[in-house]
Structure formats: structure tokens, C-alpha cells
């Protein structure tokens, strides 16, 4: 499915990257630990997290994430959004908590991802 469909399913607000919502999403990874994102998440995956600090956005860039969904209605501060070079990473915010977010996406066909391993 596309990021736009993800946005619909999660009733998410697009923080930035509106022009990139046609990107195809096949896998997702939910986590609040930076190192785990770096070690386990493969490229081209959707990152789901409740962390909203600048490190998460750097991490998403480094791991080539398709996009980031912030759960529980959380959003990075305006300063973070304005300061960071996040042009290639669409950022979304859903009011849903992390379990519901993952459950909805999983039941709509998004699979979990593990780096280097087909799931």
C-alpha cells in the first residue's frame, strides 16, 4: 500500500513530505531504541515510534526509512522540523497508540521487517 493509504488507515496528520505519499510501503518496524532501529530495520521500511527527538529523524535518514509514523499524537517540535534536513523522509503523526498502529497496519498487509532476513 502507499503512504497515503497508511495515513488514511491511521487517521494520521502529515507533518512534512506530503509530496512523497505515493511511496509504496511493504514493511514496517516499531521501536523506541535507536540502536535497534539501526541494527534491525532494513532499508525501505516504515518506522513507527513514540520518540520525537532529532535523533530519530537522523536515524530514519541513515537507515533509508520510507517514512516515520509518530504514535500517540506525538509530534517533533517546530524547531526540530525546521532545523533538520528531512526533505526525503515523510513524517506522520497518528493519535493511535503503538499497539493499535501496528495491529491496523499488520491486518492491512504490512509485514514486520528484520534486516537481512525475509519475513
Amino acid at each position: 500500500m502507499t503512504l497515503r493509504e497508511v495515513q488514511d488507515i491511521l487517521n494520521a496528520e502529515v507533518i512534512c513530505g506530503e509530496h512523497l505519499l505515493d511511496r509504496e510501503v511493504n514493511t514496517a518496524f516499531a521501536c523506541d531504541l535507536i540502536s535497534e532501529m539501526l541494527s534491525s530495520a532494513s532499508s525501505d521500511t516504515l518506522l513507527i515510534t513514540s520518540l520525537t527527538n532529532p535523533h530519530v529523524i537522523h536515524t530514519a535518514e541513515v537507515m533509508d526509512a520510507i517514512g516515520v509514523v509518530f504514535v500517540g499524537g506525538k509530534k517533533p517540535s517546530e524547531d526540530i522540523i525546521n532545523d533538520l534536513d528531512h526533505g526525503n523522509i515523510p513524517l506522520l503523526s497518528t493519535p493511535l497508540p503503538i499497539f493499535n498502529t501496528c495491529g491496523l497496519l499488520f491486518s492491512n498487509g504490512i509485514e514486520g521487517c528484520m534486516r537481512g532476513k525475509a519475513q
Binding site: 531504541l33 535507536i34 527527538n53
Partner: protein
């Protein structure tokens, strides 16, 4: 902060340098992002670029969390990339323990930011072909991670100036 230069024509070598200060958490991610952009400009494969960026991110974060200050150098030669991280700090009392996934001595406030999961050194090992750690307790740590490149990965390294 970032210095990039190309030395002798017959032995191409590019070096990226980052100075890392204690508690400067943003510099770690920025160093990784800049490394990634520079290596992408060289035309290296996406997976290799990502592995090197992860090594830089984790090594820089180790300096930010555990050391007083340090520096990271990324040296790119035709057949390999070397990430050299040198810090002045407390050193690692037990490397074997530090290499264990989940073992962490990071303070609580660092973990709240999503760091200090005890995956730093294991991640660096996973992303490199060779890893060498020299540490002296009370003095500091030098980490050398080497990633070997196939000729197909490096076809553009010998040409091209780049800016980060």
C-alpha cells in the same frame, strides 16, 4: 567541522573528519548523515553506505555518552573504508562484556532519548568486516572498523570531487 580532501593522484584517498564533544548528542546523527551523503556521492552501494553510516553513528554516540571528547575519521581508499574512532575518556573495563548485546552502562537520561540500549559495539561489529578495539581504563579508547569493497562498489571513488 567536516574536512574533505583528496591526496596523491596515484593513490586516491578521501578522508572525512568529525570532532565529537561530550554530551553533544546531535553531532552523532549529523556525522552519520554527512558520512552517508558523502559516500553516496562516491557512488558506493546503498547497503555499504548504510553500514558505514551506522558504524559512524554508534561510534560517535559512544564518545558522546562515555568519553570526554574524541574524533572520528573515515578514510576511503579504493579497496576499503576505515572508520577510526579515538577518544579521551574512561575506557572500557571489560570489552567482552561491552560486546554483549543489551549490556549497557549508559545513564538513565541517555536511555530516555532512545540511546544506551547496549547495542552500540555489537552493531559496529555486525556492520564491519574487521573490528579492532584498543582501550586503556582511565585514558581512552581507539576503535578501528574496516569495511572491504569489491571493485564494483568503488568504480567512482577514483574520480569526482565531493562536498558535504
Amino acid at each position: 567541522m567536516t574536512e574533505l580532501h583528496q591526496t596523491a593522484v596515484n593513490k586516491p584517498q578521501l578522508t572525512l573528519r568529525f570532532k565529537i564533544d561530550e554530551k553533544d548528542f546531535l553531532i552523532a546523527g549529523e556525522s552519520a548523515s554527512k558520512t552517508k551523503k558523502a559516500l553516496q556521492q562516491l557512488g558506493l552501494k546503498q547497503e555499504i553506505v548504510k553500514n558505514i553510516a551506522i558504524i559512524v553513528y554508534e561510534a560517535a554516540m559512544n564518545i558522546v555518552i562515555h568519553a570526554t571528547h574524541g574524533k572520528i575519521k573515515i578514510i576511503i581508499v579504493p579497496d576499503k573504508v576505515i572508520v577510526l574512532s579515538e577518544d579521551v575518556g574512561e575506557g572500557i573495563p571489560d570489552i567482552e562484556l561491552a560486546m554483549k548485546e543489551g549490556y549497557s552502562t549508559a545513564p538513565h537520561e541517555v536511555r530516555e532519548m532512545g540511546f544506551g540500549a547496549g547495542m552500540g559495539l555489537p552493531n559496529i561489529k555486525q556492520c564491519s568486516n574487521e573490528l579492532d578495539i584498543k582501550t586503556t581504563v582511565g585514558s581512552g579508547t581507539t576503535l578501528t572498523a574496516t569495511i572491504y569493497l569489491n571493485p564494483a562498489d568503488t568504480k567512482q571513488v577514483e574520480t569526482g570531487a565531493m562536498y558535504v
